[in-house]
């Protein structure tokens, strides 16, 4: 029996179904609980449990991100960055707001939980955070 606690949210699972029932009964006797059933959404992570395995994605989170940074009409691109890209200090162009930029990087870092493929470019951007252009 495995139990994972996040503040007032609890995830649990066991190799035997009756252990789960026992646990939920025990918790309900002690605290006022609401049973939400199978795990499908947790901390922005969407989880699909099928007989073939478990799939995770963060589609909702991504859509919210695009809306938040008003990029929901931007053009999707297959290759996010060329591996030979070099970020340099460039005083030619005008600066953008540092706060928003840092917010973007932080949000994208959280996204790496389900998208390890963007780790490289997010890491690259994260190395240059002062006076973004």
């Amino acid at each position: 029996m495995i139990v994972q606690v996040y503040a007032d949210d609890i995830i649990f699972g066991a190799t035997y179904e009756n252990l789960c029932n026992e646990f939920s009964k025990m918790m309900k006797s002690e605290f006022e609980m609401s049973m939400m059933g199978e795990l499908n959404f947790f901390l922005g992570l969407q989880i699909m449990q099928t007989s073939n395995g478990i799939m995770i994605h963060q589609q909702k989170y991504i859509k919210e991100l695009l809306k938040k940074f008003s990029m929901d009409s931007s053009k999707p691109i297959d290759t996010p960055i060329s591996p030979s890209t070099k970020l340099v200090m460039d005083d030619g162009s005008s600066s953008i707001e540092e706060r928003t930029y840092r917010g973007m990087i932080g949000s994208l870092l959280y996204l790496t939980a389900s998208r390890p493929d963007i780790v490289f470019r997010v890491g690259l951007c994260a190395r240059f955070q002062s006076k973004p252009k």
Binding site: I2, V3, V5, I11, L19, E30, E32, M36, I56
Partner: protein, 262 residues
Amino acid sequence: MEQNNTNRSEIRAETVSKPGSPNNQAEDRPILRTWKHQKSHPLDQILTDLNSGVQTRSRLKNFCAFYAFLSHIEPKNVYEALTDSDWIVAMQEELHQFERNQVWHLVPKPKDRTIIDTKWVFRNKLDEQGTVSRNKARLVVQGYNQEEGIDYEETSAPVVRIEAIRILIAFAAHMEFKLYQMDVKSAFLNSYLKEEVYVMHPPGFENNEFSNHVFKLDKALYGLKQAPRAWYECLSNFLLENGFRRGKVDNTLFLKLRGNIY
């Protein structure tokens, strides 16, 4: 909305100026001339908000079920809320919950202790379609008035990392078992406090008979600095008592083995 309004006024200006400009030739010009066919419905005749979208019957059903019993505005302060019966019910609900959980009791006002202010927070809960499904009033403590060492000591509480959840999911996939989820209703109201904390009467519900009394908290309230920690301790003690083992690396993971199996 704003954009609509400007559009609307522009169009209105156009329709006004058209019949107005040939004013001196109005006698010989037939009136029919002004009844020009318009492609789109004039905006100033549209009653509802253009952004509200299409109403379907199934949506309306849900809407009607709650419409009469819920307030659609979120009051800014308690005085505004006290004018609305729906919000008074919501506030009473919250206070009843305190009663049920035995969160606090009245004591005579202690000297040389800080009495922390309380505040109401009003939120409308929306359902998936975005209609108001619940009025929620929550009494919170203004934790920034707490003094370290007197009103609280430790405040840190462990939370799980998303990577840990990913590993748990991978493990569940490997062992082929299902994961379930549940949540604790008003979790903080379950956890006992170690420190003595005194709070003021909830605004709007002051009892004049006990005006020189204050509430002493037995359990945590929202907004207290130590509330998350108190809750974590409460839950982990309960689990440890019931034969669970705490994870050595991830303190928010609890294990219970039966023989050699999970």
